[in-house]
């Protein structure tokens, strides 16, 4: 955990150096200020998201999570995860903490990877933008190219996990 924190601050520092060189100190300051503003904006969502994580920890037993979403639940768990990934709308910083919490509490690698992949390419909240801007043909083509991906990635992750 500490290592990642250090790596992420290092990445932010490198980006700040690059921005300073490329777009100048004023824009760099503005970029950092915007990042902090975003943090303040989503801060209020993080508190309930993590309270949910903690409450789920004490409410749902590890056995229950394992039996529904664990590695041994196999294909059924992956299919549940894909359906959830399509249906559950919301910003990643509200949804991902809950997925991370379920993973730590015994959900399998396969279902979690399947959820994130399905959420990334086929979450319902994407379609208003995609259909209105790109049209139904592009949307249909993109979906038919990617529809098996959450399942394949989930199955592959199950073998790794």
């Amino acid at each position: 955990m500490l290592t990642i924190t250090i790596v992420m601050f290092a990445a932010a520092a490198l980006l700040a150096l690059a921005a300073n060189k490329k777009v100048g100190p004023e824009q760099t300051r503005q970029g950092m200020a915007e990042g902090l503003r975003l943090l303040r904006q989503m801060g209020p969502s993080l508190i309930p998201a993590f309270l949910i994580v903690g409450l789920l920890d004490v409410l749902i037993s590890t056995e229950l999570i394992s039996s529904w979403l664990g590695q041994e639940a196999g294909l059924r768990a992956i299919l549940i995860a894909i359906a959830a990934g399509v249906l559950v709308a919301g910003p990643p910083y509200a949804i991902f903490p809950i997925i991370g919490g379920l993973f730590r509490a015994g959900a399998g690698l396969g279902p979690c990877v399947a959820f994130v992949t399905a959420w990334s390419i086929a979450n319902l909240s994407l379609f208003p933008f995609e259909l209105s801007l790109m049209g139904p043909r592009f949307t249909a083509m993109r979906l038919s190219l990617t529809c098996l991906l959450p399942l394949l990635a989930g199955l592959a992750a199950s073998f790794l996990g």
Partner: protein
């Protein structure tokens, strides 16, 4: 959007809290709340770094730059640049779909266009910044390792099926 998210998150929290109180009384409910807050405190520094990085990326990688890169590149180079541009550009669907549409207007090929959209969805750098603190390194790395190359692969496939994106978007959609 933000407000609706917060309301529904607080609603779910209240329901779970009520359930915890009913099931195990104040001690179980308190234990859950404290466990959640502890986990939140652990990730806050990482999240702060992630948002600083995301804010800076927005200044460095602008829609104008992406448009410039993608101009009229074709072939393998176009696919690769489309994928790179999609992976690097910050912002949600309200940012990248309008850019994708503007790329259609500048007669980009289907391959680079698909590589751009799928790159954003499957190998986005900005998303990695959110995934690392919240999902943890193992889940993030496995997810990324299994899916990062698909934008290129599927974009190639789409360019074979439907080489020009010029007719997009469909007449009936616009």
């Amino acid at each position: 959007m933000q407000r609706k998210t917060n309301v529904s998150l607080f609603f779910i929290t209240a329901v779970l809290l009520g359930f915890a109180l009913w099931k195990g009384g104040p001690s179980l409910a308190g234990q859950g709340l404290i466990s959640g807050l502890q986990q939140l405190l652990r990730v806050i520094p990482m999240v702060a770094a992630a948002f600083l990085a995301a804010g800076l990326m927005k200044r460095l990688i602008t829609p104008k730059l992406i448009n410039h890169w993608l101009g009229q590149k074709a072939g393998w180079r176009g696919l690769f640049i489309g994928w790179l541009a999609g992976s690097l550009i910050p912002g949600g669907p309200y940012v990248y779909y309008p850019i994708a549409l503007s790329l259609v207007h500048s007669s980009i090929g289907m391959g680079p266009l698909m590589a751009f959209v799928l790159g954003k969805q499957l190998s986005s750098l900005e998303r990695l910044l959110v995934e690392f603190p919240f999902l943890g390194p193992r889940l993030t790395m496995v997810r990324f390792a299994l899916t990062w190359f698909f934008p290129l692969l599927l974009a190639l496939l789409s360019s074979l099926i439907w080489p020009m994106a010029g007719e997009l978007p469909d007449k009936e959609a616009s």
